[in-house]
């Protein structure tokens, strides 16, 4: 992409910045996607372990069920 719109649009193709680096951008995005899953699964498992540790005893469980109105 040049620095002017004084062009015949019929001759124009990709106009996004950094044409030619698409493969690198895709690689970065794929790694970020996989990282997201790893972080999310670790965080979710940590939350459940913490919930069980804090609230998982019989007494708290019974109390929590008693408080709930939606069975």
């Amino acid at each position: 992409m040049g620095n002017t719109w004084a062009v015949d649009l019929a001759d124009m193709g990709a106009v996004y910045p950094w044409v030619g680096t698409e493969m690198i951008m895709v690689l970065v995005a794929v790694l970020l996607w996989l990282l997201w899953h790893v972080m999310q699964i670790r965080e979710e498992n940590h939350e459940y372990r913490e919930d069980v540790r804090r609230f998982g005893d019989k007494e708290t469980l019974k109390k929590s069920l008693d408080q709930q109105t939606d069975y």
Binding site: M12, A14, V19, E22, V52, R54, F55, T69
Partner: protein
Amino acid sequence: MGDNVTALTTIFTEFYYWVTVVIMFLIHVGFCMYEVGVSRRRNHLHTLMKNTMVIPLVTITFFFFGWWIYWAFPNGPFIFEGKGLILDGAVGANQYLPWAPKMGTNLSDHITGVFWAAFLLFSWTVASIVSGSLIERVKSGAFWIIAVMIGSVTWIIDAAWGWHFDGWMVKLLGYHDAYASGVIHAIGGGTALGVLIVLGPRLGRFAADGTPRNFVPQNPWLVTIGLFLIYTGFWGFYAACNVPIISPETIAGQITGTTWTATTIYLTPTTLSAITFNFLMSLSGGLMVAYIMSKGDPFWTYSGGLAGIITASAGNDLYHPIQALIIGGIGIAIAYKLHYWVERTFKIDDAVGAVAVHGYAGFIGLVIAGFVLWGYPSSPYEGYATVNPLGNTIGAFIMFFVLGFLPGWGMATLLNSFGALRVPREVELMGLDFRTLSEEQAARDDVIRAEKAMA
């Protein structure tokens, strides 16, 4: 773009698909509302997030590889005449690799982005179908892996096989599924069933002697509005299944003359008018039969309307409206009976009835279309098998079992082997939102204590 007619046709097509995408967004809004309305209050927030995050995860993976799969796999691969992937040429997949120039802001291409998005919204829908079945006990992380599997891999393989003008199932089997009874709904229901078998029912859903207990939807109004929104989005879905305008010379098949037309994804002619007749008549058939069978149960009546459309969808490009009405009614009647039989027999807890409404109705719709449309051409091109009962029944089996049930069961089994599928029993008992709700309750207790101290 060449002459002005070509330019207008291109811009019209671009705008047409863009509008369908906006309308289809309502399907996802509806699914979110519906799931939250069905779930119990202690699970609302997790339920909402579980389905909401389908949007980004399936979107990026459909960009990375989903769209490429659609264009690469029409031959099977190696099923049709032993041919492999279609990578090069006018419809080759490599132009849709995520780093290809077409997959971005490109002034020479007005169609790829909106066409990709129309398919992507189908991907969200098929993942959402599975989502509702699993509520209140599946780990979000596990579901999102399953969502990527069905949304960006398995359904788009089935689309390449059976929902593509060049697909091997169309060529060899005469498979006809114009509005996705099988390629979206049967595979969604099949996948949900495969996961549910491994996941198991919610605690308390079955009595000790195996008798099922009914968990009544917690918020019927949310369920109602959600299902109405799904109906609304379904209009966009139907429109998105069409090519809006195309000339016979562009199709370059057997159609003669110069009359431009809308077509199905197979490039066989149809009209928006025809599918509007049939959408409404099949919706009506589903609603009427479901109301009678469920004795006026709102949940099943609304779902029945949806199942009516889904059953008739395979042939709604060609049916007479009365045929669509009756086929819609037949679909929900069978799906309703099957749902309760499977629930009682195999102790399957499908929280929203998705396996029945999407899976069984989609399967039945394909089989019926094979009989009713027997002998119709499946394509405008020479050498394709005509529509027939055996071809569509084999197709239904491929959609529900081969690409739906088996991958769902396999992935769920794999996740379960790592303890990654189901939340701990204690968490399920206290509710997935327990921590958030208990903090809110503690804050409320503090305020009450403070007020009492002041009094």
